[in-house]
Amino acid sequence: MILLMRQISIPEMRRHLLRNFLTLLGIVLGVAIFCAIRSANSSLRAALRDTIDQIAGKAVLQVTAGQAGLPEPALDAVRAAAGVQAAVPIIEAVVRTTDAAQGNILILGIDMAGDRSMRDYRLQGDDEVVADPLVFLAQPDSLIVSGDFASRNKLTEGDSIHLITALGTKSFTVRGIMAPRGMARAFGGNLGVMDIYSAQFVFGRGRSFDRIDVALQEGLGIDDAIPRIQEKLGPGYRIEPPLRRGKQTESLMEAFSHGLFLSSAMALLVGIFLIFNAFSVSVTQRRSQIGILRALGVTRAQIQALFLGESLLLGVVGSLLGIGAGILIGRGMMLFMATVVEQTYGVRVFVDRLRIDPFWTALSFAAGTAASLMGAYLPAQAAARVDPALALQKGKFQILFLGENRRRRLAGVLILLFGLGIGFTPAARTLQAQLTVFGALFASLVLLVPTFSHWIAGWLRQPMGWLFGMEGRLATDSLVQAPRRTSSTVGALMFSLSFVLIMATFSASVKTSMMKWVDFAINSDLFVAASESLTSRNFQFPAEMADELKKVPGVRQVDSLRLIIIDYQTGAPLLVSIEIDQYLRRGQPLMEEGRVDDLLSGMRGKNGVLISNNLARLHALKKGSRMVLDTPTGRHEFEVVGVQVDYSSDSGSLLIDREVYKKLWNDDRVDTFDLMVEKGYSPDAVKREIQRRFADKRNVFVLTNLDMRQELLRVANQFFALQYVQIVVAVVVAVLGIINSLMVSITERKREIGILRSLGGERRQVRKAITLEAVCMGLVGVLLGIVGGTVMGYYSVGPFGAAFNGWVFPYRFPLEMALVLIPAVVLVSWLAALYPASLALKTSLVDALAYE
């Protein structure tokens, strides 16, 4: 076997260096994307877990009540539980410093007069936390920073640091520096510690904590302690080990992670197809060689092993290079993903280094190698089945293909029917079923490519003849007469371009729907927000601020909006509370189920909720369904009074009356005030007046309706940026596929070109015919790619999307992308053909005719 590889495979690979290089590039790209995305995702998750672990210290349990926070009396209840040795309240907030070089800092609010046995935050070179504890407690600007942060920013005790808080930019005094160990290493060392009551004050937490850390008496296990603490608290509280709490945040990013995983898998699939194409052409090209080898006694198994060995070699080299490239781009990908996660989900994760996970690295290598083997498997099998006698008869090979084409067509149709059939089964709504349908659609398209490309090539004969004369007809005739060569190239093109179209369809459909929804949903004149970011809501306003806003001249209506993420079954939907009567006065929701007229009576002062369409689909809810939610005041049942179109959260959303929320969640804070302006007043003027009135009191971010739309668009674009990156990857891979396939096919036709010339064809004419053939291949490929991409794209925003995140978006054909793709692919095809055509024409007639 090794002898065969050395004597046959290596020289063959050397002879077609460019082709193999392009094929290799496909694997490298696919593995690099896969490796980069997985590594970046793992790094984000690991950084999140590290921060939680380092901050948790000796706490074995943590008590939370969702984003509404824990009321202070909960602390006494936890302390009263039997077996609790210590219970300390915590506030956590990531805040920006005014110095961009300093970056964000994670502030922990800790009860400095409480139990200190929970955490290790030793002062540098000292055994006390701060030199003057009384001043530290008395002054709300007191801060302890980590040694890392202090040394990076050249801070010593007594220095000031400016942080952006709910009360505006405030100066804080460094009154202690932690030694760089334990907790001080959390969040990349960008950690600060404040007294918890000062933190409540500056971060607008009112009278609540973010969580309570619990240490247990020796001998008491977690499983025994949880029910004891739960009994004291009642329902509506989560009691769990610290790392499990991190899982909630990770599940928030789950949909995002799934999307990335699919994209990275697509990149590998494209790689598989490139390999398939390259090896199919290689088998076609080397059939004489195969025939000779078989005639010399080489077995079918050895022939198969030979081709698989070549693909394995390509796969190994490509995977190793791909992992290297993946690591190089992984850091950039990780930082980008961290930004997208923060913008989209409000979760800030401090990542400064890419963690090379051995598992994902090994998996990337295995995936690349397996992709290479998978791509070459069928061609290798076909090579093994080559009859030695028939192999030396070229024409027979093409004719034989027709019978094979019938089998493929049949298989393609059957798989298509199978896939469509699943769509009608009860299990159709599940993600697994939809993935199967998606895969079946794709597989059937791949199998039907030869049939479609044959038909289209035939249809093109006349128009090409009209446009380009004899050369045009020659070009299309070549396509029809060499279906094996044509279908491989066209298949690779179709595959790549379908991927591009799917991503573009998703992007276009989602954006169109979201913009329409924004037009309806963003109907206030002004928005007064407590946090700069719409998603990472670090700060809240006190409820009383509504009265101050009402006094601003020109303000007609003030609605108080509070948004928290809650737990519901396996998801983490968004709970939105607002004064429902005022909300309905200024606009009507887009209803999918139920009537707007019923909303007020069903929701005002009652346990009625208006849920989003995706929440309804994800949890099989409808109008009249009952939902049980855990709140700080206990477990309560809510009735679904309607289903609306809403894109606030990919985990779904629930709208509830503010009075009900305040009563059940014990939380009257506000994230954003939505204002309506009196007629005759300019929103910009009212905005300026609000900013002036609150300039010295607290940090307010005032946006007009236009500002808000632009901000939402920016957040959406940030999210879609990742999609665009994937589109670029798909385009690059598609172009690689085009170049690779055309170079292979033109090189393969050296003999035919020689015959044409010997029959009197001028170089100019032959070059034109060849490049036109390439253009036709490109045209067929892009047309099929558009058809395939349209079908798959329609499916991805419809049934597949519904199973994935509950949303069904009205389909929007990505016309702009299609209009760009057609000329772009035609141009690239023409350019890709020029060089190999010239090479082929430069070969002497004798050599060309002798070419095998």
Partner: protein, 264 residues
């Protein structure tokens, strides 16, 4: 010979028994005497209430000085007292209040009020060996402990700063509830007041405390300067008191959370 020997042994044994009994009696008498002295010290200091203005100076090993001043008020005694300290300076801590409610059979309850954020909070029972508010006094040092909870031994008399004083060794009976292996106290014979204490940890001298500037206020000998030195850390805490008054009457809710929250 044998009978002579027997006689000798019997007489020696008897002598030894008598001697041992005499020593024990002496020791017991010494312990009783020491306890008697301590009780007298306490009796002479016992008041129903007290107020004073205080100023504390903490000097660390590098010479850095931290100053605070306060208004101190106390009602009750013998482990049942209520204490309210209102800080009057420096400006960073003005208005901060510390309320302590002592109980003989459980840890003291403490609350701290910070006027800057208008919040009071419960101060959790801290480790006894932990320093109180950055001073050289630990939480154990400022705890009100009954003198009956110590074992005493009278070690004789010494001259301290020209004044004759009883030297007493005291060991807290509940060894698990103290960081100190023993204390040595010097009680001035003339005014029957403790003027000097040495604190030992695992047999090694760790801290010393002196009371100076004695004056009679309302018939009670009152030290106006207290100085604690932490020999291991090299730091010193000095407290000066003035405007000392005893047996005042406070408003009924003076030692309450409501009053604590008033920062003026």
């Amino acid at each position: 010979m044998l009978s002579h020997m027997n006689n000798l042994v019997s007489r020696s044994t008897a002598f030894l028994c008598v001697f041992a009994f005499w020593c024990l009696a002496l020791g017991a008498a010494g312990a009783d005497r020491a306890l008697e002295i301590m009780r007298e010290v306490e009796r002479r200091q016992l008041t129903d209430s007290q107020s004073n203005d205080g100023a504390i100076e903490v000097v660390d090993s590098k010479g850095k000085v931290l100053n605070k001043s306060w208004r101190f008020t106390r009602e009750g005694n013998r482990g049942r007292s209520k204490v309210l300290i209102r800080f009057t300076g420096p400006p960073e801590v003005r208005g901060v209040g510390l309320l302590t409610l002592n109980s003989p059979d459980k840890p003291a309850e403490q609350w701290l009020y910070t006027p800057a954020i208008q919040r009071d909070r419960r101060v959790a029972p801290q480790e006894k060996s932990q320093r109180f508010m950055g001073t050289d006094f630990t939480h154990e040092d400022i705890e009100e402990r009954s003198i009956e909870n110590y074992d005493y031994a009278l070690l004789g008399e010494e001259n301290l700063a020209g004044q004759p004083a009883h030297k007493i060794r005291a060991v807290y009976k509940d060894r698990g509830a103290t960081q100190y292996s023993q204390l040595y106290l010097w009680v001035r014979k003339d005014i029957v007041a403790t003027t000097h204490v040495e604190f030992y940890v695992e047999g090694k001298l760790r801290k010393t405390m002196r009371w100076n500037d004695w004056k009679q206020i309302q018939g009670i000998w009152t030290p106006h300067v207290v100085e604690m030195k932490d020999l291991a850390r090299g730091s010193t805490t000095r407290i000066r008191v003035s405007e000392v008054k005893y047996n005042l009457r406070f408003e009924p809710d003076w030692f309450s959370l409501r009053n604590l929250r008033r920062s003026d």
